[in-house]
């Protein structure tokens, strides 16, 4: 039994159109809405009677036309150009809320704030809570697959001398041992100047980066930073957070329109940048602490960044940093933060 109908206290008689669902033409009828009954009088004088609580009215968002589904499968349409009072549905709680005065204001606020909170706080928080429980073997398998894919598509085998590699690997082993990251390993590759950490503890540094840094202490500082990504499981967290966030955006923006796809793309770009910049700051702090812990100068990483900055200016190269869509925070703020960290930790030591 339909309970959405609210009975009327006084009778209401209106002219209405009836569509029987069999023929395309409509039939003009007199509709009488009484307390418990809806009665239709046809042009030939015959009547049809329905229990009012079995008549389903349409949403009342429609200001000029009300539809009523009748239990015999027919449809009653009432034009209300004078906005005549028509017996209305008893709304569900959600429908009542949608129509309430404060709902629009709250909704606009929620539409702007909730996704931001969900994407920037709730999902990363949940991923951070779940990350320690994800088996390390999964993460390692993922890292190995990504590494082998990258070596086939983006990088070439390293040309560094085996002595140089051994020297840097020894530095790396010393750093990782001091923070208990025994499973991490260092890989060398040829390609554009870069250093990065993959899920499962694989740290990759290119020959060109080693040449650019031109000093083993600076290389060690960069490796300490990459170990920060390994320790915080940034690779895994980044992929998981981004995947879930992309799904949330897909659900929220139903993509009925091209404009919604554009909003989705922009939001994903901005989110990737935000997660990535946050991870870089965490890795910087970790590197600073690690360098101090291993009796090295915590300022070496700041000096390394300064070197990047100078070289980028000299060769007119864009560093992917310092903007809302960059994957890295502004270099000058990173340098300042590292100097402050070094000062603080060295003073404490």
């Amino acid at each position: 039994m339909n309970t959405r109908h609210e009975s009327v206290e006084s009778e209401l008689s209106v002219r209405a159109w009836r569509f029987d669902g069999v023929y395309a033409e409509r039939e003009l009828v007199d509709a009488l809405f009484a307390k418990d009954v809806v009665q239709l009088t046809r042009e030939d004088g015959s009547t049809l009677r329905f229990l009012a609580n079995q008549v389903t009215p349409s949403d009342d968002t429609d200001r000029e036309q009300r539809n009523f589904a009748l239990p015999d499968g027919t449809l009653l349409v009432i034009d209300t150009p004078q906005r005549a009072p028509i017996a209305a549905p008893r709304d569900s709680k959600i429908e009542r809320w949608i129509k309430s005065k404060g709902a629009t204001l709250f909704s606009v606020f929620a539409v702007l704030v909730l996704p931001a909170a969900l994407l920037t706080v709730v999902i990363p928080g949940a991923v951070n809570l779940a990350a320690p429980h994800i088996p390390l073997t999964w993460e390692t398998a993922l890292g190995e697959t990504v590494f082998s894919s990258l070596m086939k598509t983006q990088f070439q085998p390293s040309d560094l001398s085996s002595e140089h590699k051994a020297r840097l690997t020894a530095r790396f082993d010393e750093l990782k041992a001091s923070v208990g990251l025994g499973s991490a390993r260092l890989e060398f590759a040829g390609g554009i100047p870069n250093a990065f950490a993959l899920p499962g503890g694989i740290v990759v540094i290119t020959d060109q980066m080693v040449q650019l840094l031109d000093n083993d202490d600076r290389v060690a500082a960069v490796l300490a930073h990459e170990l920060g990504h390994v320790a915080n499981r940034h690779g895994l967290r980044g992929i998981a957070t981004h995947t879930i966030a992309a799904q949330v955006l897909t659900v929220a923006l139903t993509h009925d329109q091209l404009s919604q796809r554009v909003v989705d793309l922009v939001a994903q770009r901005a989110l990737t940048a935000r997660y990535s910049q946050q991870s870089e700051r965490e890795a910087d702090r970790f590197a600073c602490e690690l360098l101090v812990k291993t009796q090295r100068s915590a300022r070496s990483l700041a000096e390394t960044f300064e070197r990047f900055y100078v070289l980028a200016e000299r060769y007119n190269v864009n560093l992917d940093s310092g903007s809302y869509t960059s994957t890295h925070p502004p270099v000058d703020t990173r340098i300042a933060a590292l100097r402050a960290c070094a000062k603080e930790l060295e003073a404490a030591r």
Binding site: V8, G21, D59, D60, I86, T250, L253, H255, S326
Partner: protein, 414 residues
């Protein structure tokens, strides 16, 4: 009082004749009168009204503020319920829009069951989650997975059309659709093979070598200029040619090849202009040092290429199909949506939606619906009583197929 309390209660306004700019029929008739009739798009025999024909009033009566309130409230509920409310939101919004498309004074009805859509969506998310997990563990699995996904896609797409037609009613008579997966099977599989090849190349080869770059370029061109336009043209043809309203079949008097050609033809060089503008803008983005400015320029070039070009091609194709569509022998259409204006609108809607963080989406929806009705003439030969007796309506099937097709973003919208 138990009467319906209308928020606009009070004395009725004094009726007055609408100003020409307020009258949707005047605007539409002006648009039809002044539009440069595209000889490719409108057959000449449709332009003259015969003695037995009458033009039906078609209007969109939706209100931007009213729809904005509905959209915002349902959007907030989607976020609060972490997406579970999405099917109900979709039904409420579509119902609102459908009922405000008034043809001959009668609105359309949308009668989908949100629970069925939710079931479909949950299944889709389960499949996607498994796929994402496999891709997460081994990116080399992406290419075979793409192929596996494309295998049942022809069935899913055609059955999704059935669901969409069956959930719409006009004059209490449901539309229907006869899905035939065989018709689109080969184009879908061809597209699956090209897409899987692209993924395979990206994950296994050194992209910096010339042969790999050439293969990638050829695969991209095959996808963008051949497979995708041909598949979507085929789907558009299938969607209209196999539909019916009650017992009356819809008839489409053109071939897939003709629809396909329309994507690239004419338009005063507009399409070429977009492509040139995109190429120049894209080249310039490389020179921009500021990363934020570069991102904005890249987003603009994306808007130009995809939103404008897709809107342009899609509108031109849709015009062509609608102008050759009839419902039995009784109803014909003349669609005069200008493709360059459609592209301009798409660009405006896209920019406004991005700049308002999505809040302009309801305005874009209502504005486009109004424009669409102003540029569509519906002509009835004879009377409504000339339509045959209709069979009883059956419950709509295919919510799962609909959910899947929507997730894959294949051209299922109008």
């Amino acid at each position: 009082m138990a009467f319906w309390k209308n928020p606009f209660d009070g004395p009725p306004p004094i009726p007055r004749a609408p100003l020409p700019s307020e009258d949707p029929f005047f605007v539409r008739d002006e648009a039809l009168r002044t539009a440069e009739v595209d000889v490719d798009a409108v057959p000449h025999d449709r332009l003259d009204r015969k003695a037995t024909q009458r033009d039906l009033t078609l209007e969109f009566t939706g209100d931007t503020w009213e729809y904005f309130r509905l959209w915002a409230a349902t959007q907030a509920l989607i976020f609060v319920t972490l997406g579970l409310y999405a099917p109900w939101a979709k039904v409420r919004r579509t119902r609102y829009l459908a009922r405000h498309y008034r043809l001959d004074g009668v609105g359309f009805e949308y009668r989908a069951n949100p629970v069925a859509i939710l079931r479909g969506k949950l299944l889709v998310y389960a499949v996607l989650a498994i796929g994402a997990m496999l891709a997460f563990l081994n990116p080399f699995l992406i290419a075979p997975m793409v192929l596996v996904v494309y295998l049942p896609l022809a069935w899913l797409l055609t059955h999704s059309f059935r669901f969409r037609w069956q959930t719409i009613r006009y004059r209490n008579i449901a539309f229907g659709f006869r899905p035939d997966a065989k018709v689109v099977r080969w184009p879908v599989l061809a597209m699956g093979v090209v897409t899987a090849t692209l993924f395979l190349l990206q994950t296994t080869t050194d992209q910096k070598t010339l042969p790999a770059a050439l293969v990638l370029l050829l695969a991209s061109l095959a996808l963008g200029l051949l497979a995708w336009p041909y598949l979507t043209s085929k789907l558009l043809h299938h969607r209209f040619a196999n539909a019916r309203w009650g017992a009356t079949e819809l008839r489409l008097d053109c071939t897939v090849r003709e629809i396909f050609k329309m994507m690239f033809k004419g338009g005063k060089g507009f399409f070429i202009g977009i492509v040139v503008a995109f190429s120049v803008l894209n080249a310039l983005t490389v020179l921009i040092k500021n990363i934020d400015l570069r991102s904005i320029a890249q987003a603009l070039s994306y808007l130009l290429l995809t939103v404008c070009a897709v809107a342009f091609g899609r509108t031109r194709r849709l015009n062509y199909a609608l102008n050759r569509l009839s419902v039995g022998d009784q109803i014909t259409f003349i669609s005069t949506m200008e493709p360059d204006r459609a592209a301009g609108r798409a660009l405006r809607y896209g920019l406004a939606s991005v700049l308002t963080l999505g809040l302009a989406i309801p305005w874009a929806t209502i504005d486009f619906a109004r424009w669409r009705t102003q540029n569509l003439l519906v002509r009835l030969t004879g009377d409504w009583s000339d339509f045959p007796t209709n069979p009883p309506t059956v419950a709509a099937k295919g919510a799962i197929a609909d959910g899947l097709a929507e997730e894959f973003g294949i051209e299922v919208g109008w």
